[in-house]
Amino acid sequence: MTDLSPRRLAGIGRERFARVLGILPWVLAGLLLGVAVHIVSVFALPRLAPDDARARLSEVATVNRLTTLSGRASVVLPLADPAFETAVCRFDLTSGPLHVRAPVTPHYTAIALYTSTGLAFGAINDRAATRRVLDLFVVTQAQRREITTDEDETAADNLILVSPTTEGFVLIRALAVQPSVAPLVRDQLASQALCEILTPEMAPPTE
């Protein structure tokens, strides 16, 4: 059956065209589905990533206690600056507000706060310090309402930050401008930094 008359060829062409036209809606639906899959997977990644900061830090840090990551910071947290000494604290605010204290190191110190999915919701550096230490209180929305200070709050010299989640992380990072000062900065961080839950009697001091 090799009838290759122009009419026959046109027939084959039309048939092909019709078949392609038949696939087209399915392809378009597939591309639309692809966009949806893309959006859903990007939003789901922070919750599903098996090796995220939360997983990495729960291996090394205990809840509401400070752990110093001496020299291991860039191993535990990729992209951490090797020039910094780091201490980390996993917090859980269910039993009360959290008190974070960082020493003011010779060059640069910062306290950064993260939700459990790794969203940075606040940070302060030693520029905010008026003493040799940097004090910070992390509270939930409900705990914030309970702290009723009689006096002017600014006079109390306390920094209070509201956490959007009850669980999260605190990173205390101190810069060692050259390798020789790293041990000094590390010691200062280990001996003076603090991360503890306040009991009701120990509510943020107002003076």
Partner: protein, 190 residues
């Protein structure tokens, strides 16, 4: 086309394009909030509570906590001035104005952001220890073999990233395509 093969085709295209797009954008750290200034990539909102879903996904995949904006700003270079991908076997020259910041550091990392050199070797320079030229600008040579001056070892890995971190800087909130940043030029390649 009948329903079943059509449906399968739709599902296959959907899964492939959807997951492919995600792997591509998250793998290359390119989301809607990321922009390029010369060789540098920056996602200013990554360290804030308004971080976009791409920035959040990138951080989760890398397993890191992004630099909080009030703390500092990180710029990542994955290519040189001319647009060629950074190669650890080549020599690069980092030179020029670093935006005003209390401190800055420049570190070398591999494609997966893991250190490129063994412990004990220099992983980066801080603004404090870098030796400056007569014009006050810092010049750092990124090379696999030792160089005179400020030498940052790149370990000879084929995939290389340079990370410039600015601490306590006003640029964190004002950075735009017009912000002057250090240049990163290729000196030589083996």
């Amino acid at each position: 086309m009948r329903a079943l093969p059509g449906l399968l085709l739709t599902l296959a295209i959907g899964a492939a394009t959807g997951l492919g797009l995600t792997a591509l954008s998250v793998g290359r750290s390119m989301g809607v909030g990321t922009f390029r200034i010369g060789p540098w990539l920056v996602t200013p909102k990554a360290g804030t509570a308004e971080a976009d879903p791409y920035a959040r996904a990138v951080a989760a995949r890398l397993g890191t906590l992004p630099l909080a904006l009030a703390d500092g700003l990180a710029l990542v270079a994955d290519q040189d001035e001319a647009g060629a991908a950074l190669d650890g076997r080549c020599t690069y020259r980092f030179h020029g104005p670093v935006p005003p910041a209390r401190y800055w550091t420049l570190t070398a990392a591999g494609g997966d952001f893991q250190p490129v050199v063994r412990e004990g070797f220099r992983q980066g320079f801080t603004s404090y220890e870098v030796v400056r030229g007569t014009d006050g600008a810092a010049e750092i040579l990124v090379a696999p073999q030792a160089r005179a001056g400020n030498w940052l070892p790149s370990g000879g890995a084929d995939e290389l990233r340079l990370v410039l971190r600015l601490y306590d800087t006003a640029v964190a909130t004002t950075i735009s395509a017009g912000t002057p940043l250090p240049s990163l030029s290729k000196v030589s390649c083996p």
